[in-house]
């Protein structure tokens, strides 16, 4: 049992590289630990974690639990969940945070049932109730149309997966010190029930919507598939990814990889430019939490204007190319 209570961040790594969201979580963890007095720690399952610890210290981790095992080199749900659950059982942290990545969202729900913990999904806001000693976990539900604050009063740890790109990264310094605690888990008893055969990074020139800082999206108002060209042109000028509404995907104008919305991707870029998108609730669900929303639509009553920071009323076929032109001119 640790003498002080601990707040853990799951230090997700892929191919020996720590995921960006981990630093975001550590940054937010610094604030939560200040309020709660807990110790900020990271948990790092990998083949060999030692070399990855320094950067975690730099973002505020006082302690890094490294769990080294060749079987933990790449993510495998059975091994990872066993390793993390066992460490939780033993060290009894108060809080465990995971990035809401494909890995985090597989691992955390498995660990949650293993250790009897509540798990709040995909949080966008965290706070600490000092009086009750509870983590206040706020998350969008119903595709972002409502927000819910979830608490977990009776079970420990309190666990949450947290969305990428919502918390700012704050580095403490470039040379923080911290303590590496090596922890051993015997994985030989865990049956090998699944094996990764292949891992492919698609050499897609288009920018990943999930990671994009800027997104330009087209909706029905674009009119026809060929007209997506002006969307692409503006996007490339802005260094943005291209998104689309469900209507355009269903109409076959653009591939579903681009679909933003409840049944597509949920995005939160710095700037989201919605062109000719009416703003069905379905679509809003996927982009509402963008920092700044620019809506271009000829219908002043379009619901998209309800969530927009800047609404441009007019014909997108004139406005979008103009936008591109002026950005290009500004760069030149």
């Amino acid at each position: 049992m640790s003498t002080t209570k601990e707040l853990w961040v799951f230090a997700e790594q892929r191919e020996g590289k720590i995921a960006g969201v981990v630093y975001e979580l550590l940054s937010e963890g610094q604030i939560l630990c200040e309020k709660s007095g807990y110790t900020l720690c990271a948990v790092l399952p990998s083949a060999d974690g030692a070399s990855l610890c320094q950067e975690l210290y730099n973002f505020g981790a006082k302690k890094v639990y490294t769990i080294d095992d060749p079987k933990l080199k790449d993510y495998q749900n059975d091994y990872y969940s066993r390793a993390v659950a066992q460490l939780i059982h033993e060290k009894k942290p108060e809080i465990v945070l995971y990035g809401a990545t494909t890995i985090g969202r597989s691992l955390a729900p498995t660990v949650a049932v293993m250790v009897n913990a509540g798990l709040t999904a995909d949080c966008t806001q965290l706070d600490f109730d000092v009086e009750a000693g509870n983590l206040l976990q706020t998350r969008p539900a119903f595709g972002g149309n409502i927000m819910a604050t979830i608490i977990c009063p009776d079970n420990r740890p309190q666990m949450a997966t947290v969305r990428s790109n919502v918390f700012k990264k704050t580095k403490v310094s470039d040379s923080e010190s911290g303590e590496q605690v090596s922890y051993n888990v015997d994985l030989s008893a865990v049956p090998e029930r699944m094996r990764r055969l292949e891992s492919v990074h698609e050499a897609d020139n288009t920018i990943d919507l999930n990671a994009a800082q800027y997104i330009v999206s087209g909706g029905r108002g674009v009119g026809k598939p060929e007209n997506f060209k002006i969307i692409y042109d503006l996007a490339s000028e802005l260094g943005a990814a291209v998104g689309a509404s469900r209507a355009t995907v269903d109409a076959g104008w653009i591939s579903h990889h681009h679909q933003v919305g409840q049944t597509g991707k949920t995005v939160c870029p710095v700037v989201y430019v919605a062109c000719g998108i009416s703003g069905a609730i379905q679509h809003l669900a996927g982009m509402q939490s963008s920092d700044v929303i620019v809506a271009i639509n000829k219908d002043p009553d379009a619901p998209i204007f309800d969530v927009a920071d800047f609404g441009l009323i007019g014909d997108l076929h004139a406005i979008v190319p103009e936008f591109q032109k002026q950005i290009a001119a500004a760069k030149a």
Binding site: S106, T110, A112, N116, G118, P140, V200, V294, P300, A308
Partner: protein, 260 residues
């Protein structure tokens, strides 16, 4: 192959509107649908059955009206359906939901594959699939977009942030399925007529014999402490006029906000 597909009945988000006064969802009179991702799970099951034979059973936990979702699934081609419903199961979070569903899957007996949608569009947690898998002590893969039977194991392609991975996984196992996987086939007229009359057993507390502390509110570690509308945009600006002027103004404003 015996396949169980877990489906959740959810409000049709396309038809939900926001009350502009209160900024809350108008849910009254909104039709219920099968969670869209669960349709992909169902289609995956049906395709596996088409290719390899076997049986597809759909199960849903929810209030009695969730039976409608099960009938819809039958009309699309599922063979059997079971409703999991009991007042005592109400108020469950994903932990308790996973536990309860796992008891139903166990009761179904010999199962090779349990399929889930990627996530439910109302609760939006994506936690039930992996949770059920653990209670059943079977391996799980999330975000599956394709599956192939290779002898005793399954070859599964799962979507990742920047590509995909191919996994070999032992049966029985659990998969959560993404939209890219497929498109649910249309219902058939004969199956639709039969589904209207189908007997759908309802399993409640007595049938599943759960540990009372692990179900419903009591079995749910998370509590919703408050629900509120997302903050509205306060200083929204509407621009109109000539495109060139609007854009000039927009760019300037975006720069002021330090986002360009």
């Amino acid at each position: 192959m015996n396949i169980v597909v877990c489906i959740k009945q959810v409000p049709d988000s396309d038809k939900v509107t926001i009350d502009r006064e209160t900024n809350r969802l108008n849910r009254a009179g909104v039709p219920s649908i099968i969670n869209p991702f669960d349709e992909n799970a169902l289609e995956m099951a049906l395709q596996l059955k088409d290719a390899h034979g076997g049986k597809v059973t759909v199960i849903s936990m929810g209030p009695p009206q969730a039976e409608e979702a099960l009938r819809t699934a039958l009309s699309h081609g599922a063979d059997e359906a079971v409703l999991i419903s009991d007042r005592k199961f109400g108020g469950a979070d994903t932990w308790a939901t996973s536990y309860t569903i796992s008891l139903a899957v166990k009761k179904l007996g010999d199962v090779d594959l349990v399929l889930f949608g990627k996530q439910a569009i109302d609760g939006d947690t994506a936690q039930v699939g992996p949770g059920v898998a653990h209670f059943l002590d079977i391996p799980a893969l999330t975000y599956a977009k394709a599956v192939e039977v290779t002898g005793e194991t399954l070859k599964v392609t799962k979507v990742t942030e920047d590509g995909y991975e191919v996994w070999d996984i032992d049966k029985p196992c659990a998969l959560t399925v993404v939209k890219e996987a497929n498109q649910l086939r249309m219902p058939s007229l004969k199956k639709k007529m039969a589904a209207k009359k189908a007997e759908i057993p309802c399993w409640g507390f007595n049938e599943l014999q759960p540990d009372e502390e692990k179900i419903g509110l009591a079995g749910s570690p998370t509590k919703v402490s408050k629900v509120f509308a997302p903050p509205v945009k306060l200083n929204k600006e509407i621009l109109s006029g000539e495109p060139a002027e609007m854009i000039t103004e927009l760019i300037q404003k975006l720069k002021e906000r330090n986002v360009l």
